[in-house]
């Protein structure tokens, strides 16, 4: 069989070629390049860099992390130089007494990548252009709040606001993203800024576009020669000469790529994938040195109830359902124990332990529920320790022993499962039990459909499956439904009973809660059938809540009262249980130290390593080439 010989020849020739080509990023020096996962995957419209238009191209392709900049950044962790960073602004925002005017001073000596200087005109242009084109992302926000914007001089911008707004600067403050500043000299030449692709992008960040895949699978950025003329230079020189943001495929492929040292930062993968990396790749590290490895993002996954669907408008029912959940099992099922649990309505991340969890612990311990038949204290402060003990036999030394460490990594307490109290609460709400099945007050079976995101968010889907199982074991006809596409639009349309999702997101580093809480005011509530604007996805309203929100609106962002009012909200949310808080959104970001070192970690929490956050730009100045050391 001559064919076979020929085939064998080609096969071996190809194998040789294969090893010669070996891992690499083609003609770029690997030791000067960092390869990062872009969780957006493949970009549908690769040559679109106009980040000011809605959902057109990629934004976490490196564009918003390395190419863009705006006035301020708040770090979700401790920050490279404190939580607050004046980025393009030279100082904090200055409001007048009644919060109707905000003045911003800008930095000197910042240049766009094409050599044009950044001035106040760019900021004014950014605001005015988007107000003229409300289909641009921040247009509607500016339209709603800005009366006029002017630049009295090259370094000053004055915003006159339509109504008092003590949080207006938040629009220009990066938490994941914010309103990015546009290059006036580029966009003013364009006829219609909504149809302009901005390719190649003129950047104000420390990198500029090197090349990208016309099929949207990768983007490569190159350090600007004049990186000193960007705002990041205050913190040092960015390490990597090139940064590639790639679509590495599904979770298992990401793990394989990092095992082969072809992917320096994994954005997220499955807990099992992380355990594999920890076992097989000594160079891979997570946020925590040991368990749970993942970075807790300041987002609070929870069981969301639709308060406009009976019986979920009844706090007794909501509390009963909460008391049926065994968080230990949920933590095991979802994150294999690598979750950071939270009993209260803020995520247990960043500096929130200090701001909220520690001060509230005693109140929680003494918190009492009255089921009508009995009173008891549902808070079990030892749940975090219990999870740690449960994991210790199989995970050994990776599990922290110091109670403080456990509280930080695995969480503090949660509600103790109590089927008896749940029974009493349900009976008070008019429910009855017939055989194994609970019936609603109207005599029909109590069934619950829990919406989950399926493939889009495997870990949350696993948590939902576990919760539903616990409800089912209690005699509630519960089931999950996977809905991988347009999950949040559907939740916001009110077309759900319960869902695993989130409506609480915070700054992480800063105690102010208005980021999510302001939108929970009853003035924004929509009747059932109409779309609820984010983020009051549970459509919960309460007169006391409105009062808290209104008070926050009148005080300064940095006022110490912010924390006090935040605690008021938390207490209210514990009593009412509008959502069942579960845990922080732990992102399994894994970093390979083969080529780069100096990544942020729980021991050195100078910024969030989760690479789609625009805040990760601070990571670049700390990254050092491993080979050079």
């Amino acid at each position: 069989m001559r064919i076979m010989q020929v085939l064998a020849f080609f096969a071996s020739a190809w194998l040789v070629a294969q090893s010669a080509l070996a891992q690499g990023i083609s003609n770029l020096p690997r030791e000067e390049t960092i390869i990062i996962e872009n969780p957006q995957g493949t970009i549908t419209n690769p040559p679109w860099f106009n980040i000011w238009m809605v959902a057109r191209g990629g934004n976490s392709t490196g564009l918003q992390q390395l190419g863009m900049d705006t006035l301020w950044y708040i770090d979700p962790d401790a920050g490279i130089d404190g939580v607050w960073d004046n980025s393009l602004a030279a100082d904090k925002p200055q409001y007048n007494a009644d919060f109707t005017e905000m003045t911003v001073k800008l930095r000197d000596g910042i240049f766009w990548s094409d050599g044009v200087e950044f001035t106040a005109d760019d900021v004014v242009f950014t605001v005015q252009t988007q107000m003229k084109n409300p289909s641009m992302i921040w247009g509607p926000v500016f339209l709603a709040s800005v009366d006029t914007v002017t630049a009295p001089d090259k370094r000053t911008v004055v915003f006159k606001l339509k109504r008092p707004n003590s949080r207006f600067h938040a629009t220009f403050t990066v938490r994941w993203n914010a309103a990015w500043i546009m290059p006036k000299h580029v966009f003013e030449k364009v006829e219609d800024p909504t149809k302009f692709d901005f390719n190649p992008p003129v950047t104000i960040g420390p990198y500029k576009l090197h090349s990208f895949d016309p099929n949207g699978k990768w983007y490569i950025w190159e350090k600007r020669e004049d990186w000193q003329r960007t705002s990041l230079a205050r913190h040092g020189e960015p390490g990597p000469k090139y940064a590639a943001y790639i679509d590495p495929g599904p979770p298992d492929k990401r793990v394989i790529l990092q095992l082969n040292h072809q992917l320096d930062i994994i954005h997220d993968t499955s807990p099992e994938g992380v355990f594999t990396l920890v076992k097989q790749s000594p160079t891979s590290q997570g946020w925590f040195k040991g368990f749970p490895y993942a970075h807790p993002d300041p987002t609070l996954p929870a069981v969301l109830f639709n308060h406009q669907v009976k019986p979920f408008d009844n706090p007794d029912v909501r509390w009963a359902l909460a008391l049926l959940i065994d968080i230990k099992a949920v933590s095991m099922a979802s994150y294999r124990g690598a979750a950071t649990i939270s009993a209260i309505g803020v995520p247990p991340t960043g500096l929130y332990g200090k701001y909220y969890f520690d001060p509230m612990e005693d109140w929680l311990k003494n918190f009492e529920i009255d089921t009508g038949k009995s009173k008891y204290k549902p808070y079990d402060p030892t749940v975090g320790q219990q999870i740690a003990e449960m994991l210790r036999p199989s995970m050994g030394e990776q599990i922290p022993t110091d109670p403080k460490e456990i509280a930080k990594a695995i969480g503090r307490g949660w509600w103790k499962p109590n089927p008896e109290a749940a029974t009493q609460l349900l009976e008070r709400a008019g429910f009855t039990k017939q055989g194994d099945q609970w019936l609603k007050p109207d005599g029909t079976p109590f069934s619950i459909t829990l919406l989950v995101e399926g493939d889009q968010r495997p870990v949350m889907t696993r948590a939902g499956t576990m919760i539903v199982q616990q409800w089912r074991q209690f005699g509630i006809a519960a089931k999950t439904q996977a809905y991988p596409s347009d999950f949040f639009p559907r939740v916001e349309s009110g077309d759900f009973e319960t869902a695993i999702g989130w409506s609480v997101e915070t700054w992480g580093g800063h105690p102010d809660l208005s980021f999510f809480l302001d939108s929970w005011h009853s003035e924004f509530l929509k009747p059932r059938g109409e779309r609820q604007p984010p983020r009051n996805r549970q459509r919960w309203t309460h007169p006391e809540l409105d009062k808290i929100i209104e008070e926050i609106r009148t005080i300064d962002f940095d006022d110490p009262k912010v924390q006090e009012l935040g605690q008021e909200y938390i207490k209210l949310a514990v009593r009412e249980m509008p959502i069942i808080p579960l845990m922080s959104y732990n992102v399994f970001t894994m970093m390979d130290t083969t080529y780069w070192t100096g990544y942020p970690s729980a021991d050195d929490p100078y910024t969030n390593p989760v690479p789609n956050w625009a805040n990760t730009k601070y990571m670049f100045v700390r990254l050092k080439a491993a080979k050079a050391q």
């Binding site: 938040a170 895949d213 394989i256």
Partner: protein
Amino acid sequence: MRTYALYLVRRFAQFILVVFIGINIAYLITHLTPVDPVEQAISSVTMFGQSSPEMVEVMRKTLRELYGLEGSAWEQYVSFWRRMATGDFGPSLSAFPTPVSTLIWQALPWTLGLLVSSTLIAWIVGNFLGGLAGYYRKNSLLKALGILAMSLQPIPYYIVAFILLVVFGFLWPVLPISGGAEMNIDRQGFAFAASIVKHSILPALSLVLVGLGAWFIGMRSLVSNIVTEDYVTYAELGGVDRRRILFSYVMRNALSPQLTGLALSLGAIFNGAIITEFVFGYPGMGTLLVRAVNAGDYSLVLGITSVSIIAVASAILVIDIIYPLLDPRVARS
């Protein structure tokens, strides 16, 4: 000849009708889906960053106007066909204002390249080996191949692809398991071509393995039927070279039904594209379609579906037109 012309006209009218109905069904289904591109766009904005409730209202209204979603269902339907008539699928909604056709043109070469070449390879190899197996029925190697083909044939594509992925991507990681070509490679020249070939080995192999069996078995049974015909026996008795008998007499006659099948499977390649591209992270129409569906971008979904409907219908049309010319018996009936 007049009957053939009449046949052509009738057949062409049927083609138009089938395409029309097909695209209409696709239109109906895409417009019944509750996924709303405007809401998708908004949630991509509010998912991570700030969102004030007022902002969402304004954005919703302007996007609706921008996307041209205003107007009654009937008006939208009419304007859809008006644009279709000129070959214009309109702008994509998830990649607005990029035209759908631009996105399809970007993806099409990858899908076509991968699927056409692997379908052809499977066809050629399958028929060649199948022909041999039908003719030399005693050869034990060919018998073994037959068993192998039999056992591969019924296994669904996903399973085969998945096994290949696990074996060559994980257990013995020698082949790239995602992407169409290496990153940042010079898109001209030999290295680029080599890289494309390298990246297409696994997906192509999976397609060939799955496709091969059917051709092999089909050709084998066709040939073993023809071999018993008188003219083959005469040729053998007459001392004609056996190789010549196989290729000029037997295989050639067996080829026409297999050609029909080839045209059909070439037309249907878009079906296979989705799952192949999903498993191997390959760029192309399938990936594009899944992303379009997830984004509720029905202009894009409709564009892709229409292209594939037209492709299959044209393939069948071409066969039906050529068939009578190859086989006059059909033309007469």
